[in-house]
């Protein structure tokens, strides 16, 4: 079940109806847990067992960890929890990849193994909920969080449907305390307009751009550099709107149910360096990687080279988290290198006597903004194309412009290039407006009710007119 569907609308309406009937705090939590299970089982009922396996292991491991003071036992329990979680993740997400890679390597050496391909189905949201449960046991192990005494609370923390399949990755320390207070519905204008913002981003921008992006990246060799560039920028906008749109809808739905989820995006394309970009893109993942991988590895405490090593390990694994494919690994490596270069540049710059003047210069910041976005766009090509040859061709066309574009080459239909550019420009104008003057949804939640209603009606008209007829799956569902 996905948010922008009639099925979900009915599901949510039914949930609210039950909430009106059920007033008791514990009962409302139970209703939410059941609803979350139904939400997940709509895709594939069997895989709910997998989630509950993680829940049961982590709940009891954390409880046991809380009761014992013996550090060795606590560490053994942590290993059990992490081993189980990573084992499940490795099997369901990476087994096919490792098998294919092994086959490929064996064939390189001239062997022809004839074992059967596993063809394991990837459970939706496994990367998200695995990281969520792992962070819980790690927090309990570090004594930053007491183990949850309520199985219901813990199960609801893991399965809470707004964020179950594509994040934001919620920390137990943020969510579990919210379950101690009574569950109260919160239908305010902030939630309404935030949901509409996410919905519009997903349907009006991301899905409309998807038609063009898919057309370009199906075979980039067919297109000149100008179209590859346009396709890459369109994909950058598509993936941002797709993922941040989902996060915003999730946050808004959680808010309607009386829960607060973490902010996941903060206009990342306005960043001026890779470090800032990762503080604004998929914030819940980057902070997770920072807190549970980069810092435990030593962070930036061991000198320049140790920091560089830690950065590369973190970003490479971060890239691999996205998908069991080499392109995601390279994407992570590229971002690791960028963070590393940026770090070295900052260290070098600090020794310059005029570094403060440089940092304050608008021209310098604008140049940084352009350079970062050029890099980000190139890496989106690596992210988008799993086929190495297509990736190579697209990157070549992106990096070495061929000046081979003629309007007479554009036939009827084909890619919807002009409407795509219109959507992109419309998004960029609104995005820039939001960056400099505040988001439209925030403004609309403060205006007079009549103006708010007029805006809602206008969005209704736009959704009806420009919601694409072919629905596109959320990109991050595959992770």
């Amino acid at each position: 079940m996905i948010f922008p569907t009639f099925t979900f609308l009915c599901f949510f309406a039914a949930l609210l109806a039950v909430f009106v009937l059920v007033r008791a705090h514990a009962s409302r939590k139970a209703v939410l847990l059941v609803a979350s299970c139904v939400f997940y089982m709509w895709w594939n009922p069997a895989f709910i067992l997998l989630i509950f396996t993680s829940i049961i292991i982590d709940y009891f491991v954390a409880r046991r960890m809380d009761f014992t003071a013996d550090q060795r036992k606590r560490r053994a329990l942590l290993v059990i929890s992490i081993g189980a979680n990573l084992g499940i993740l490795a099997f369901f997400k990476y087994a096919n990849f490792f098998q294919d890679s092994l086959l490929w390597s064996l064939r390189l050496t001239g062997q022809q193994p004839d074992w059967t391909t596993l063809n394991i189905i990837l459970p939706v949201g496994i990367s998200f909920y695995t990281f969520q449960t792992m962070s819980y046991t790690l927090d309990v192990y570090r004594r930053e969080l007491p183990a949850s005494r309520s199985f219901l609370d813990f199960a609801l923390f893991v399965t809470f449907f707004p964020q179950l399949v594509a994040g934001p990755i919620v920390r137990a320390a943020d969510f579990l305390p919210q379950l101690n207070a009574p569950v109260r519905l919160c239908f305010d204008r902030v939630a309404f307009f935030l949901f509409l913002r996410g919905l519009a981003k997903k349907t009006l921008v991301a899905d409309n751009l998807a038609l063009f992006v898919d057309g370009v990246f199906t075979n980039p060799a067919d297109w000149p550099s100008a179209i590859v560039w346009l396709g890459t920028v369109a994909f950058a906008i598509q993936i941002y709107c797709d993922f941040s749109g989902y996060s915003e809808m999730a946050i808004a739905l959680a808010r309607m149910l009386g829960f607060s989820l973490p902010v996941n995006f903060d206009r990342p394309y306005f960043a001026t360096n890779p470090s800032l970009f990762w503080r604004r893109w998929h914030i819940s993942l980057s902070t997770w990687l920072r807190d549970y991988l980069y810092i435990p590895l030593g962070g930036n405490r061991g000198g320049t080279w140790a920091t560089c090593r830690n950065l590369m390990i973190t970003m490479t694994l971060g890239g691999f988290w996205h998908g069991a494919s080499w392109n995601f690994l390279w994407w992570g490596v590229a971002h690791g290198v960028a963070l590393l270069v940026h770090r070295l540049w900052v260290e070098m710059k600090m020794r310059l006597p005029w570094h403060e003047t440089l940092d304050a210069s608008m021209l310098y910041r604008f140049a940084c903004f352009l350079a970062l976005n050029y890099f980000i766009l190139a890496t989106w090509i690596m992210f988008r194309l799993t086929d190495f040859n297509k990736m190579r061709v697209a990157l070549k066309k992106f990096l070495f412009f061929d000046f081979d574009f003629h309007f007479t080459s554009i036939g009827l239909g084909a890619l919807y290039i002009f409407s795509t550019v219109t959507v992109m420009l419309g998004f960029l104008v609104l995005h820039a407006f939001g960056h400099f003057f505040g988001g439209l949804d925030e403004r609309l939640s403060r205006v007079r009710p009549s103006v708010g209603c007029a805006a809602a009606a206008l969005v209704g008209v736009l959704l009806t007119l420009f919601w694409p007829t072919s629905s596109q799956p959320f990109i991050y569902f595959q992770f």
């Binding site: 509409l196 081979d404 309007f407 209603c453 420009f466």
Partner: protein, 345 residues
């Protein structure tokens, strides 16, 4: 701790939220009404279908005797005005081709044909002859329904026996209107294209009943080469076998035409020799086999696939003005040579 979205200290009243939801629903309804009012009149890539459907309803004083159905190659390569004038006796001939027209779309047009039509030219490319003939994008079927074309006898004939027609052909009106929203985007694209591509006569392509030629200027050599390469890869990766359903569908159409005292002729359109050079021979073997099978089952076939040279094309598939003239003349000659009686099924 992460940066959480703050919740209000007190839950707000539901009234404001309900009002917003009601306004949103009102907007959706207004959007639907807007769609119902404007989409059928917008100039999108299927405007020609709308124009043809409208023309069938308001026939001019001189209705057609012969019609040609097909895709953009037929639009660009067949001057039906000149064709009709060269036939003996001369007859009103219309070009009913539309961009990417499939046999199912053709069938929707044939179901709405005026009674005056006595001869149907089913124009197909060589690869179209051996490809799937009925696979039609849902959006096109939606547009056809919106423009007043509905599934009739012919549509059922070309569809595989025993399987249901595409659901788009049976949707209720409110859904047809809602699903037709893609036309807005097509209109937006067409409007921009009309401004940027002065070489295209979009109005002629939409509204000319005789010669809706759209492409007249040769594309850039680099673009031509790239398109050729793309086509080479696509053709090399295909396996060419005659889809049994295609043969049955064309024969069924011929039978339907004969039952209605109409002549049905399959015309194989000219192919760019540059394409022939890069195509696996299996395509032509399959096309020959298909033509032979059609002839064995009594279908008249005119194969003009080799009448043009590479210079007669503006791109890898569409004949230019000179190519259209040559092809039209060749077709007129072939039709004059054929006997006038309607063959029996």
């Amino acid at each position: 701790m992460s940066k959480l979205v703050e919740l209000p200290p007190q839950p707000p009243s539901m009234r404001g939220f309900v009002a917003l939801c009601a306004a949103l629903c009102a907007g959706v309804l207004a959007g639907w009404c807007l769609l119902a009012g404007v989409t059928s009149g917008l100039n999108g890539e299927l405007s020609r279908t709308a124009f043809l459907a409208q023309t069938f309803k308001n026939l001019p004083a001189n209705p057609p005797h012969t019609v040609a159905i097909g895709n953009s190659v037929t639009m660009n390569g067949l001057d039906c005005g000149a064709l009709g004038a060269q036939l003996s006796p001369s007859r009103e001939t219309w070009n009913l081709a539309t961009t990417g027209q499939t046999l199912l779309e053709s069938a929707l047009l044939l179901d709405a044909l005026p009674d005056s039509v006595r001869e149907i030219l089913y124009c197909t490319t060589v690869d179209g002859l051996v490809g799937p003939v009925i696979n039609t994008e849902p959006s096109k079927l939606i547009a056809a329904r919106l423009y007043g074309l509905g599934p009739g006898e012919t549509a059922s004939l070309v569809w595989p026996e025993g399987s249901l027609l595409p659901p788009e052909l049976n949707l209720p009106y409110w859904r047809i209107v809602l699903e037709s929203r893609w036309i807005l985007r097509a209109w937006l694209d067409n409007s921009f294209r009309a401004v940027l591509r002065r070489d295209l006569n979009l109005q002629k392509a939409n509204e000319d009943l005789h010669f809706p030629q759209l492409y007249t200027q040769r594309i850039a050599p680099a673009t031509y080469e790239r398109a050729l390469q793309r086509q080479a890869e696509a053709r090399a990766s295909n396996e060419y076998k005659i889809p049994s359903h295609s043969l049955d569908a064309i024969v069924a159409l011929r039978d339907w035409a004969v039952r209605n005292n109409r002549r049905f002729i399959v015309v194989v359109l000219p192919e760019n020799p540059d394409l022939r050079g890069i195509t696996p021979p299996s395509l032509y073997a399959a096309a020959d086999s298909m033509e032979n099978s059609l002839r064995e089952r009594g279908v008249e076939v005119v194969d003009l696939s080799t009448v043009l040279s590479a210079g007669d094309f503006v791109d890898i598939v569409h004949p230019g003005p000179e190519g259209a003239r040559k092809f039209t003349d060749a077709l007129a000659q072939a039709l004059r040579a054929m006997s006038g009686a309607v063959p029996k099924p």
